[in-house]
């Protein structure tokens, strides 16, 4: 019978979390000795009926109290900083990541690679590459938990959340949903399969459906009629989308927001929420006509579009 105490560590962050764990364990051991030690000693030495010197001692009480207030505060601040630094690393994906979209729904994970490959409850990735997950839910809140990587992030309907990891050993690891989501919550599990780069390429080509994420997005862009307004030849005046991703957008309210994934999603589902400066509220909502996976495809397409066109550049300059 084995008694493992920590899971396999499949990434650098996993190992760092383990160090933090050990640090906290050592701190706990020290405090337990400091507290339990004297208690046990007093229980024995000063047990009632046992002769001992019980004359009251005059102790510098305030000094003692302040000391054992400040020292713990100091120690705790140290662990706070340690934990916070680890948190920054976990929550800030480094650039040049490969982006994989994840849509959680009761009770499965739907995953799509940029090359178009789709998976259900499985995530194949190459070792040594930075993988960034762009996630949303179709229904209730879920959470994408990878214990061997020591990371998780809630997957929330109505917004995008991200999670990143860089596997540094080949193997198969757990995927668990870790936010209670209904009847089959404990069945919403799967695997992360980390492969050598060569094996990954082979896997990709074997499962190729035909359209990459971007190509599917482009197809939807046409089929849903987006190009009807958002193209150079259109009669309706709509903001151009080339090079829009992650650029600042001035709104009619005077605010300037960034055209990130959330902005793009909101523009498609709730166009009246934020109107670009210089334009009017004419865009229809596509809520009900496009699902979460399709939204991620369209957004991937929009992200792939090129430089800032002259029209939008002028609008941006005018607003400064």
């Amino acid at each position: 019978m084995t008694f493992p105490i920590n899971p396999v560590a499949a990434s650098k962050i996993a190992r760092e979390t383990d160090y933090l764990y050990w640090g906290l364990l050592i701190l706990s051991a020290v405090i337990i000795v400091i507290v339990f030690g004297p208690i046990i000693y007093f229980l024995i030495r000063y047990r009632e009926g046992k002769p001992a010197d019980r004359t009251p001692v005059r102790l510098p009480q305030n000094t003692i109290e302040i000391t054992w207030t400040l020292i713990p505060m100091f120690v705790m601040t140290g662990f706070y900083v340690w934990g916070a630094r680890q948190y920054f690393t976990i929550e800030r994906p480094p650039p040049a990541a490969m982006e994989i979209s994840v849509v959680g729904k009761q009770w499965m994970w739907k995953i799509q690679h940029p090359e178009g490959n789709r998976e259900i409850n499985e995530l194949h990735v190459p070792v040594g590459r930075i993988v960034k997950l762009m996630m949303t839910s179709q229904d209730v809140i879920h959470s994408f938990f990878l214990p061997e990587f020591r990371i998780k992030q809630d997957v929330v309907p109505g917004r995008y959340s991200t999670e990143w990891f860089k596997a540094d050993r080949i193997g198969t690891y757990h995927l668990f949903c870790s936010e209670f989501c209904g009847t089959m919550h404990s069945g919403m599990v799967g695997r992360v399969v980390v492969m050598s780069p060569a094996a990954y390429e082979e896997w990709l080509s074997k499962g190729q459906p035909g359209s990459t994420l971007v190509q599917s997005g482009e197809q939807l862009f046409r089929e849903l009629g987006c190009s009807g307004c958002h193209s150079g030849s259109s009669v309706v005046r709509a903001p151009p989308l080339e090079g829009l991703y992650n650029k600042p957008v001035p709104l009619t309210s005077g605010e300037v927001v960034t055209a990130d994934e959330a902005y793009l999603r909101d523009s498609i589902l709730f166009p009246a929420k934020q109107i670009v400066g210089g334009y009017t509220n004419d865009m229809p909502s596509f809520q009900g006509r496009i699902n979460e996976e399709q939204l991620l495809q369209v957004i991937a397409y929009l992200k792939s579009l090129g430089t800032v066109p002259p029209g939008l550049r002028k609008t941006l300059e005018d607003s400064r």
Partner: protein, 552 residues
């Protein structure tokens, strides 16, 4: 000021006839109990009520632990399992733990500790009990006829849109019971402010009062937010209105902010009273005044205040901003400090004392041990980078059970044993008491320590079926649960036995200080014939006591 004749309290009052105790005086019919305004009877009424809800919730836990012995979900269906952990959480939190020490021991003891004849608003006190049980009845109905499967946290949009269970009935039950809690807290606050005996200044109050006062402030300020949050969720469920519904632009995470704004302070409602009991027990059974009275009192207040500022530590991976995470993590570390101060002060109280290992003291020591472990694991959870891995796993489950069960329930048992002679006029069998405490301690650790390990290994919480490599720890945990059950069953049996067959208790079986021990066991309806006068600090177990407590 006080126009009643001031009387110096006598060490032990003349023995009272049985017919003059509160159990008899005031009537012995069912109606006289159900319409009582005597705080002591109301305390007992609460004891019976919470025992009822505890039993249901404990049976749910037993079934869960039975299911978790093997990895596949083969004892109950998934839907049933989800309902079981919801029943367990909601009933244990709102219908057992929150009322436990305050409504049972607090109601019984606070007026007597203050030298008062009753609480400030006795009729409101009775109303509290009725509201509590009206809510409890609704909750029980929700549980018995269809169940609720959202977890005690009711996260939207699952609870407001997707769940097919009795969410609204349960929410209504908690809402109504919440008003019972609010009124109890209000009652205690005014009682402590206005009904103290002459000479009983704030810094002469027993620490049990400081703890319960701080608890009452939390009850009064936090519970309304829960009530409104559950109401908003229920309204969304009834009318499909999108306060938290993302399809209408609502934010499901707003629910979490509102919910945890109450529920974090709620956990301090569920530990501060326990700490108050421990202060009483450690002093009495070490025959020593508390070390650092002012700091322990101040720590209670600090915990209450800081407890309102840390709710976001339940939401580090919810989509909350990194900045918010930084703030909440730091404050969570800070709120640990006053708890640590209390533990150090209790330890130093025992120094050069004369320590007896009577049952209440065993529970107090158990509290210190288990609460320390639980509190230390709180430091783990407050570390942002660490929490990302263990949040929503069994690590968290183990942490809060160490605090709530290892801490609060243990303290409740300690307090119950300590004040039992006062409440019933009978002694429980001491040897059995010590045995039960030991069994409980062993069973508890065996049940919950493995859960820390399996949580770090990655076992998520609220899982009906789990990965096979987690089994060994689950088996240990379930084995421990059966031992823990014995540890709780024993006192139930011998307490009931003692009411009829236990030795009659003297007025002050523990030779404790404190005004409640100046009354007969059991006390008369009005507690004191003459309101006593206080001119000393509490826990005056030796002549130099007061000097030392103030000047060090």
């Amino acid at each position: 000021m006080n126009n009643a004749a001031s009387a110096v309290p006598v060490a032990s009052a003349p023995p009272l006839k049985r017919s003059n105790t509160y159990l008899v005086e005031g009537g012995q019919t069912l109606a006289s109990w159900l319409l009582t305004t005597d705080h002591k009877r109301i305390g007992l009424l609460y004891l019976f009520s919470i025992l009822f809800y505890f039993t249901i919730a404990a049976v749910a836990a037993a079934l869960m632990r039975l299911e978790l012995i093997t990895p596949p979900g083969d004892v109950v269906s998934s839907e049933t399992y989800n309902k079981l952990f919801t029943i367990h959480g909601t009933l244990m939190v709102w219908f057992f733990l929150i009322p436990s020490i305050p409504a049972v021991l607090g109601n019984f003891v606070i007026p007597m500790m203050l030298g008062a004849k009753d609480v400030a608003f006795p009729k409101l006190n009775l109303l509290s009990w009725y509201l509590f049980n009206l809510g409890g009845l609704l909750a029980t109905y929700a549980v018995a006829f269809g169940g609720v499967d959202t977890g005690w946290t009711f996260y939207t949009p699952y609870s407001s849109t997707y769940s097919n269970s009795n969410v609204i009935t349960m929410a209504a039950g908690i809402f109504i019971a919440g008003f019972g809690t609010i009124l109890t807290g209000l009652n205690f606050i005014i009682t402590v402010h206005k009904l103290r005996a002459p000479g009983l200044t704030w810094f002469r109050l027993p620490l049990f009062i400081w703890s319960l006062y701080s608890t009452s402030v939390i009850m009064v300020l936090a519970t309304p937010v829960l009530a409104m949050t559950l109401a908003l969720m229920a309204l969304e469920r009834i009318w499909g209105l999108g306060v938290f519904d993302p399809k209408l632009g609502g934010d499901p995470v707003l629910f979490q902010h509102l919910f945890w704004f109450y529920s974090h302070p709620a956990v301090y409602i569920m530990i501060l009273p326990g700490m108050g009991v421990v202060s009483e027990l450690v002093t009495c059974f070490s025959r020593k005044p508390i070390f650092g009275y002012h700091f322990v009192a101040g720590a209670s207040v600090a915990i209450a205040i800081l407890g309102f500022l840390v709710w976001g530590h339940h939401m580090f991976v919810s989509g909350q901003s990194v900045f918010a995470g930084l703030v909440f993590s730091f404050l969570s570390y800070m709120v640990a400090v006053p708890s640590a101060i209390k533990v150090f002060n209790w330890t130093m109280t025992m120094h050069r004392g004369s320590i007896s290992l009577a049952t209440p003291m065993l529970y107090a020591l158990g509290f210190i041990g288990l609460f320390t472990i639980g509190g230390l694991t709180g430091l783990f959870l407050a570390a942002l980078g660490f929490d990302v891995h263990v949040t929503d796993t069994y690590f968290v489950v183990a942490h809060f059970h160490y605090i709530m069960v290892g801490g609060m329930v243990t303290a409740f048992m300690g307090g119950l044993h300590y004040w039992w002679p006062k409440i019933t006029g009978r002694l429980y069998p001491e040897k059995l008491g010590q045995l039960a405490a030991l069994i409980m301690y062993i069973g508890f650790n065996l049940t919950f320590f493995p859960q820390f390990v399996v949580g770090y290994l990655g076992m998520p919480r609220r899982y009906h079926a789990y990965a096979p490599e987690f089994q060994v720890y689950n088996v240990l945990s379930s084995a421990g649960a059966s031992i823990l059950g014995v540890g709780y069953l024993l006192p139930l049996i011998y307490f009931l036995w003692s009411v009829k067959y236990g030795k009659r208790a003297p007025d002050n079986p523990w030779n404790a200080t404190g005004l409640e021990w100046q009354t007969p066991s059991p006390p008369p309806k009005h507690n004191f014939e003459n309101i006593p006068r206080v001119d000393k600090m509490p826990y005056d177990y030796s002549p130099e006591a007061e000097e030392r407590m103030v000047h060090g």
